[in-house]
Every structure is written in structure tokens, then in C-alpha cells.
């Protein structure tokens, strides 16, 4: 048995082959065996593209190890290819000498044709360790005594393949067997079929000694605590539930389904017993407007979407800016413009978050850096929104939304700041109630909610007179109010943490990144050693010390999955001359790409 530090496995097959479940099970088992890991599901926008074609290939990558894992990995060391299309879609990504498990049953003339191969691709795989197995046939054979139709038996082939990988990496079968029991407890035939397929695959790999060596990846040495696996979208949903509990406010979500944000709606809809109210609206505008209505009525309000949906919400978002009500808007970014690349990741909505509204309309903009950080930033978005009576845009992306990592479960009592809603009290009635009167320090108005006696008032999108909130077209008042709304957002800087500098702080070059690229940039910076690194989670307002940090380095390189939006923002805001390192392929940065860039630039 060979001990290795970390390894990357990619499961790949047709959209209907169950690769997402296979990958999730592999990571779940791996987590429970104490490895650190990161995952990257990669699937087409089409639910079932034509079978056997490259367009229909669905993949799930897991990177796990005995060391700290920051990314789902650049190059798979093992590829499971359920058909020729899966091989074709992935072969260029593999590391040299990688192992490929081939489902030989699907490698037929017809299969080659569908995948666009002119000849049998298996003849040209020298340099790889290829394991050919008749996975479909063997699965059906293993299940021959079961009272199930052939189609259902063949459908278990993903668990057969999973079993093979479990043997190769010394994974335990129990976690998956238990999961199957939980999932198919009321469908005993399916439960038995999948369990048998899993074991059969494991035994087959053992019999053929599937690889020259059986790998063992030891447990990672990570911080003590109780851990669980979590994806970005789930973490985000839970972060808002936590904020709701801590603030004592009801959580209201108005949302309209959109990839890759819908899972947040699905997750919150499950937790009605927390008092969570989820409303699937008729469209994106209604989704955010219902949230504005609920916010006016005293809820911690939330709307979730992705780029095209956020574009539709911008008018209502500005209403919330004008009303000065709490509202969190989550943008799970995907490739754009327009419908773009719905299932692929990108960071190109930063400009829209910063500027995408009519008039002078400043807002708090935050970005989460990893799947588990979505919990923290959701909580933070709720805290700032409620305490500063202003909408907050929280940016995540498809990569961290769907990716999963192990997460040390935090202690809610000690690790999170309190959230104090600014409700009116009877004292605010003295001398007559002024809905837009503010505290001197933070310029925050108070929250008067329908049902509160004595506080009747009207709000609206028209410009308001200072303090009274009455409609006002007075020129000087408008300028005053524009200034107040801007200063209110600027004052948030006193309530957010200072920017942390990581890496080699004494280096001459500073790498800047934001959002979901933290894992790969952090890994590259750690490996390269001779650069400093800041990863920004607070984009508006920016932490107080950002300017001095930027001015501290001879060279600033901003790495982002767009054409340079943060770079341009920093250059114009701080008059620096940062350069960009950009990628817009719908894919995350690979560590080796970043390393190559650093070797060239530093």
C-alpha cells in the first residue's frame, strides 16, 4: 500500500449516469475518513443532452488529501469515463500517467460516432494506466438474481464504478451503504441493487488488482473540532437562518428559480420550522419586491438569483436603497452576458453590483471566498444590512455554490457578533415621529413596522425630505440626501474587519483576489512563496487599510475570472497601476496557471 498526500478523482459520464451522486458519495465517505477535500461538480445546462455526446457529459471532481486542500485540483489523477464522450471531454485535463477507468460496454462503434471519434480512442492511450471493465455488463450480472427490470439494473452501474474507486483508495463502504439505506429504505429492491453493485465493483477491483498499488490517503491534520461537509449554497442558506435566530427576526426569502442559485431556495424551503418564510414568486421582480414588502413589515429579507435575474431586480434594489430598509440580495454569479453559461462559473457581475442601478446608489457589496465561507458572509450580509438599514449585495459564484468542503462547525454563541435591529421605541415619538431621522455616528434611520401604534408613515421611491421623509423636489435637499445615503454606506467601514495580508508580506509583489478564487490563489501563493496576498471579502465599502496595503508593494496583480473589473476599480479609486491576470472560460483558476503567471511576472 502506498501512502500519498493528495489525489484528484474525476467521475464523468452522461447527464443521466448519476455522476453527481457518485461524486458526492465519494466525497462524503472521504470526509468521514478524516481527509480534507474540495469538490467541483461540472454539469451541462441541458438536463439530458443527447445521450453519448460530449454536450451531455456531466462530471464531478474530488480533490482529497492528508494535507490542507484549497482547490478541487487542477488535473485528475484518476478519471472514471463511463462512455467515449466522457473520455473525449476530459482526456486533455489529466495528469501525466493518470489512471483511467473505462466502461468498455459503452466503447462501441456507435459510441465513438456519437462522441465524434473517428476510431477507437482506446488505441491511443499510451502513457496512461487504463483499466478497461465491462461495467454495465458486470453490474447486470451481479444483479441477475434480483427481481428488477434490466434497465433498472443497468442504472446501478455508477455504484459499481464507485465501488472500484473505493477499493483503489482504501475507502470504507459503510458510509455509502448507510446512505443508501436512508435514501431507499422504502424501495428495498433499489436499495439492494445499488448496495450489491457497490460491493461487486469493490470486489472486482480487488480481484483484478485494479492498480499497481492501492493508495492510502491518511487523515489530514486539521484544526480540532466537529466537522461536517457543506456546499456553498447550503452554507449560505444556513448562514441566514443563523442570522435570523441571532437577530430575533423572521427570515423571508422571495425568489425565482435560476441556475445556479435555486438550491438556496430549495434548502430554505425545507426549514419552515425555523419560522423561515419562502415565497416562489412569479418572476425576479416580484421575488425582490415581495422581499422589500416583508422588510418594510419587519422581516430579515432576502432574495437570491444569478446575473440575469439580478439585472431584472435592479429597479427594486434601488427602491430598497431609497427606502433605507434591510435587504440581502445574493448573486450566485455565472458566465455572462445575457443567458451566457448558466452552469459555469465567472466573476463578471462585480461592476453590476457596484454600479448597476440608476442614480447615485451606493450599496454594501460583499463576496464569499469558499463554500463554507458562504455561511460567514451570509451572516455578515444580514448583520450589516439590518444594523445599517441598507441593502447588501452578496456575491458568490457557481464554483463555490456547488462545490463542497469539510467545515468545522462553529460555535454560534462565541464566534459570531450579535445582530441588533434598529426598531423604533416610544422615545422616538417625542416631538413627533420622524421616519428619516438618523443617529449621528452611522446615519442609520430607525425601523418602524406596520402594526406599531403611533408610527404610521409613508415611504416611497420619490426623493424624500431629510428627517420627515416627505416627498421633496427641493434641489438642495436632493444633494443633501444623496450625500447622506453615500456617507451611511461609507460609515460601515467602522464595522467591518481590516484586510488581512497573507503569504510573504515582505515580498515586492502583491497578489489581489476576491470571491470564489481564494482556494487556487492561496495555494499558488503558498507554493510560490515570494509574493504577498490579499483576498477581499468586503468590496464596498473597502476596509480602511486597503489603500495603505496597495501602496506598500511595487507591483500589484489582480487575479479574477473576468476582464479586470476589480483591477479597474482599484486603479480608479486609489490611483495605482495594478495589472490584471484574467480568465473568462467559465472555469476556475488552476493552481498551475497561477504559478506560471507568477513565475513570469515576479
Amino acid at each position: 500500500m502506498k501512502n500519498i498526500e493528495h489525489i484528484v478523482v474525476r467521475f464523468s459520464g452522461d447527464s443521466g449516469d448519476g455522476m453527481q451522486i457518485t461524486g458526492t458519495q465519494f466525497s462524503s465517505t472521504t470526509a468521514q475518513m478524516g481527509n480534507d477535500f474540495a469538490t467541483f461538480p461540472d454539469f451541462p445546462a441541458e438536463i439530458r443532452a443527447p445521450q453519448g455526446t460530449v454536450a451531455g457529459v456531466s462530471g464531478f471532481q474530488v480533490h482529497f488529501g492528508a494535507i490542507e486542500i484549497n482547490t478541487p485540483g487542477d488535473e485528475p489523477d484518476l478519471l472514471v469515463a463511463m462512455n467515449p464522450a466522457a473520455l473525449k471531454a476530459n482526456i486533455d485535463d489529466l495528469s501525466t500517467g493518470a489512471t483511467i477507468i473505462i466502461n468498455k460496454d459503452a466503447f462501441t462503434e456507435l459510441g465513438f460516432k456519437k462522441a465524434g471519434y473517428g476510431m477507437d480512442p482506446l488505441e491511443d492511450l499510451s502513457g496512461y494506466n487504463v483499466i478497461e471493465a465491462y461495467i454495465t455488463t458486470q453490474t447486470k450480472e451481479a444483479l441477475k438474481d434480483l427481481d428488477l427490470d434490466t434497465k433498472s439494473k443497468a442504472r446501478c452501474k455508477n455504484f459499481y464504478a464507485l465501488g472500484m474507486t473505493y477499493f483503489m483508495f482504501s475507502r470504507e463502504l459503510d458510509p455509502t451503504l448507510l446512505w443508501l439505506k436512508d435514501k431507499f429504505g422504502n424501495k428495498p429492491a433499489i436499495l439492494e441493487a445499488n448496495s450489491l453493485a457497490l460491493k461487486a465493483g469493490y470486489n472486482y477491483a480487488e480481484t483484478i488488482e485494479a492498480t499497481a498499488e492501492v493508495y492510502r490517503v491518511k487523515s489530514a491534520s486539521i484544526e480540532k473540532g466537529t466537522y461536517r461537509q457543506i456546499s456553498g449554497n447550503t452554507a449560505l442558506a444556513w448562514g441566514f437562518i443563523a442570522a435570523s435566530e441571532k437577530s430575533g427576526l423572521d427570515l423571508f426569502l422571495g425568489s425565482y428559480p435560476i441556475t445556479p442559485a435555486s438550491d438556496i431556495l430549495h434548502e430554505l424551503a425545507k426549514h419552515k420550522n425555523f419560522g423561515v418564510k419562502t415565497f416562489q414568486a412569479e418572476d425576479e421582480m416580484a421575488a425582490i419586491c415581495s422581499a422589500v414588502g416583508a422588510s418594510y413589515t419587519g422581516a430579515l429579507s432576502l432574495t437570491t438569483s444569478s446575473g440575469p435575474g439580478i439585472a431584472l431586480k435592479s429597479e427594486a434594489l434601488n427602491l430598497a436603497v431609497m427606502l433605507e430598509l434591510p435587504l440581502v440580495v445574493v448573486d450566485v454569479q455565472r458566465g455572462g452576458p445575457s443567458t451566457g453559461l448558466p452552469t459555469k462559473t465567472e466573476q463578471a457581475d462585480l461592476n453590476m453590483a457596484m454600479y448597476g442601478r440608476n442614480g447615485e446608489s451606493p450599496m454594501i457589496v460583499l463576496a464569499a471566498k469558499s463554500p463554507s465561507d458562504c455561511f460567514n458572509m451570509a451572516y455578515e450580509a444580514a448583520r450589516l444590512s439590518v444594523e445599517h438599514m441598507t441593502p447588501v449585495m452578496l456575491l458568490t459564484d457557481g464554483y463555490i455554490a456547488n462545490g463542497a468542503t469539510p467545515w468545522r462547525i462553529p460555535d454560534m454563541d462565541t464566534e459570531f457578533k450579535t445582530i441588533t435591529p434598529r426598531f423604533v421605541t416610544d422615545k422616538d415619538l417625542e416631538g413627533g415621529f420622524l421616519p428619516y431621522k438618523r443617529d449621528a455616528q452611522n446615519l442609520v434611520r430607525k425601523w418602524a413596522v406596520p402594526g406599531m401604534k403611533g408610527f404610521t408613515h409613508r415611504v416611497g421611491g420619490l426623493e424624500k425630505e431629510n428627517e420627515t421623509g416627505n416627498v421633496s423636489y427641493d434641489p438642495a435637499n436632493h444633494e443633501l440626501m444623496v450625500g447622506i445615503r453615500a456617507k451611511k454606506v461609507e460609515a460601515v467601514v467602522n464595522h467591518i474587519p481590516e484586510q488581512l495580508v497573507e503569504g510573504n508580506t515582505d515580498a515586492k509583489t502583491l497578489v489581489v483576489s476576491w470571491g470564489g478564487t481564494y482556494g487556487s490563489v492561496h495555494q499558488a501563493v503558498s507554493d510560490f512563496r515570494n509574493v504577498a496576498h490579499i483576498h477581499m471579502q468586503y468590496l464596498s465599502p473597502m476596509p480602511k487599510n486597503i489603500e495603505s496595503i496597495l501602496n506598500n508593494y511595487e507591483k500589484v496583480i489582480v487575479c479574477e475570472l473576468n476582464c479586470g473589473q476589480l483591477k479597474d476599480l482599484l486603479n480608479s479609486k486609489f490611483s495605482i497601476n495594478a495589472q490584471g491576470y484574467n480568465k473568462v472560460q467559465g472555469k476556475p483558476f488552476m493552481v498551475r496557471e497561477l504559478m506560471g503567471m507568477l513565475e513570469k511576472e515576479v
Binding site: R228, W238, E245, F252, N273, R458, G461
Partner: protein
């Protein structure tokens, strides 16, 4: 404490044009709110954009002048967050049927317990007089100098199509009828849509005259009353009888036992009434349709209460530790 209309009058200066039909609607609505007996702080008025949507500023209650067409969506959030509030949505023919048509359709089908008043003046007033979805074909305006070519949008038929549980029509020249209609709307459990024929004195003066003018309206409209025969005319001498899937106008004399009896719970009848447009029979005023069914807000909270009862009140700590977890020592 008995509430009066003045309890619902705010201190804001009213900026509608002198002679605008909106004043009369506001007055009747404030009267209806007072009679409803809900205190001003438990009333919430939500509007969109347009002349009619200035309404919330003039009502002493909580209120929001929101954005164009979205009032039903904002009101949905308000009502779901606090179902105890008396919620009123104010909209117009442009706000409710053009830019906000989708939201109006969906609030009607969902059936939240709130009231929608649609001011129909067949024109865009605030943007200075372009034709609207309810404008009659051939309407000449600044944007249709040679006459509009759009077919007319009927709020009544829209409401029937969207599955509204309550639809009524009233006119801005009859405060008593408006009051009764608004009271019926607020008494209805579910989304009630009230169309008000409202006069825009600047851009479309007299457009509803045939149906709202005191001298003409008795001959051109029929006042619906549940359980009563459909009789109209200045001398109450004309009536409606059923003729296949239509109504037929007949003299009352000699047809007393054939006259159609109004039943707002009969959906088939409501649809036939919605079709009457003045050219094929009198325009029906009053409650065309009123049926009782579950409200969305009721069901919504029932689900939350049920889940809480079955699973117990959730705690974030338990949620974080649910499912597969493992210890690292």
C-alpha cells in the same frame, strides 16, 4: 373607539389635479377603512406608479409608494410577513394591466387576503396622455396621433381568466356605490379586485360619461345585487334574461318571472357578466364575482405552523450538527 373617515386622512398636501376623479375614490376608500374598524396603524396601503399611486401619501396609515407595476408583489411580502394587517393595493390601468399585468394575474390566482383598487381612466395621466391597455381602439393620443390599433384589455375578463375570487366594478361619480363596493371587497376573504371607472379631467375627460353621468348611467348600467333580479333603466323598466350563453334585454313588464337573479358565486354567470361592455348590454356595476376558497396567506402560515408542530421549533445549533458529522482531535 369608533373610527371616523378623518382618522384616515394624512397631513400631506394632495397634488392631484382639481376635479380629478381620484379625490372621490380616496374619500370613499377612507370611509370604507373607517367602517372596517381596523386602526390606522394596522392598515397598510401599497401602490405602484402613476397618478392613482400617489394614494398612500394621503391615507393616514402605513404605506408604500413602490415602483411601476410591482405593488401586488410588495403587498404579497407585507401580507405574508404580517397576515393580521389590512392591506390595500392601489393601481391603475397602466400600472396594473400593462407593466404590472403579471403581478396582478398572480396575486389574483394566489388569492391573498387583501384588496386591490384599479383606477381605470383609459389613459396614462402622469406621463401626459398616452393611450393605455384599456383605451378603446382608435384612441388618438400623443403616442397614437392617427389612432390606437390595439384591441382593448378588459379588467373583468382578465380577472376571470386569472381565477380571481372577487371582482367588482364601481364608478367615481357615485360615492355611495363606491363605499358599498369597497366594503364588500374588504369583507371578502381573499384577493378582491375592484375596477373603478375614473375620470381623468386633463387627458381623457368624459371617457366614461355614458356610464357614469347621473343622467345617463341608469340606462347604460345595471346594478348587481346578490339574490335580486337584474333590472335597470331610469324607470326600472328594463331587465335581463338568459338567452343561451348570453343575456337578452327585455321589458320588465310581462317577464317578471324570467328575469335573471344575480348570484356572484356562480362562476359561469360571472364570466357572462364580464363580457358585457356597453355595446352588447348594460355595463354591470357591483360585485360580479365572489367565491370563498382558502387564502394563500392562510395556507402559507398553516404550513409553517404544521412543520413547527411536527418537527419542533428549529435551532441553528441542531441544524449545524445534523446529518453526518465527524470529530477531529
Amino acid at each position: 373607539m369608533e373610527l371616523k373617515k378623518k382618522d384616515f386622512i394624512s397631513d400631506q398636501e394632495n397634488k392631484w389635479c382639481p376635479g380629478c376623479g381620484d379625490y372621490a375614490i380616496l374619500s370613499s376608500a377612507q370611509m370604507a377603512m373607517a367602517k372596517l374598524g381596523v386602526e390606522p396603524h394596522n392598515v397598510c396601503v401599497i401602490s405602484g406608479i402613476g397618478c392613482s399611486s400617489r394614494f398612500p401619501y394621503y391615507v393616514e396609515s402605513f404605506g408604500m409608494h413602490s415602483i411601476h407595476g410591482r405593488a401586488p408583489a410588495v403587498a404579497t411580502g407585507v401580507k405574508l410577513q404580517n397576515p393580521d394587517l389590512s392591506v390595500w393595493v392601489i393601481t391603475g390601468d397602466g400600472d396594473g394591466l400593462s407593466i404590472g399585468g403579471n403581478h396582478l394575474a398572480h396575486i389574483l390566482r394566489r388569492n391573498l387576503d387583501l384588496n386591490v383598487i384599479l383606477f381605470n381612466n383609459e389613459i396614462y395621466g402622469l406621463t401626459k396622455g398616452q393611450y393605455s391597455p384599456t383605451s378603446r381602439k382608435g384612441t388618438k393620443t400623443s403616442s397614437t396621433p392617427t389612432g390606437s390599433i390595439d384591441r382593448v384589455f378588459s379588467p373583468a375578463k382578465f380577472a376571470m381568466g386569472a381565477g380571481a375570487t372577487f371582482f367588482a366594478r364601481t364608478i367615481d361619480t357615485d360615492p355611495k356605490h363606491m363605499l358599498e363596493t369597497f366594503q364588500a371587497a374588504s369583507a371578502h376573504k381573499g384577493t378582491s379586485l375592484v375596477e373603478v371607472y375614473q375620470n381623468c379631467i386633463i387627458f381623457n375627460d368624459g371617457i366614461h360619461d355614458e356610464f357614469t353621468n347621473r343622467k345617463k348611467r341608469d340606462d347604460t348600467t345595471v346594478r348587481l345585487e346578490a339574490g335580486k333580479p337584474m333590472i335597470f333603466g331610469a324607470d326600472k323598466d328594463r331587465g335581463l334574461i338568459q338567452d343561451g350563453f348570453q343575456f337578452k334585454e327585455v321589458p320588465v313588464a310581462g317577464n317578471e318571472d324570467k328575469l335573471f337573479i344575480h348570484d356572484p358565486t356562480d362562476e359561469c354567470l360571472s364570466s357572462i357578466l364580464a363580457n358585457l361592455n356597453g355595446s352588447n348590454g348594460p355595463i354591470p356595476l357591483g360585485v360580479l364575482k365572489s367565491i370563498e376558497t382558502e387564502t394563500y396567506d392562510e395556507e402559507f402560515h398553516k404550513l409553517i405552523n404544521h412543520e413547527t408542530k411536527v418537527k419542533g421549533k428549529g435551532s441553528i445549533k441542531d441544524l449545524l450538527h445534523s446529518g453526518n458529522t465527524w470529530e477531529v482531535n
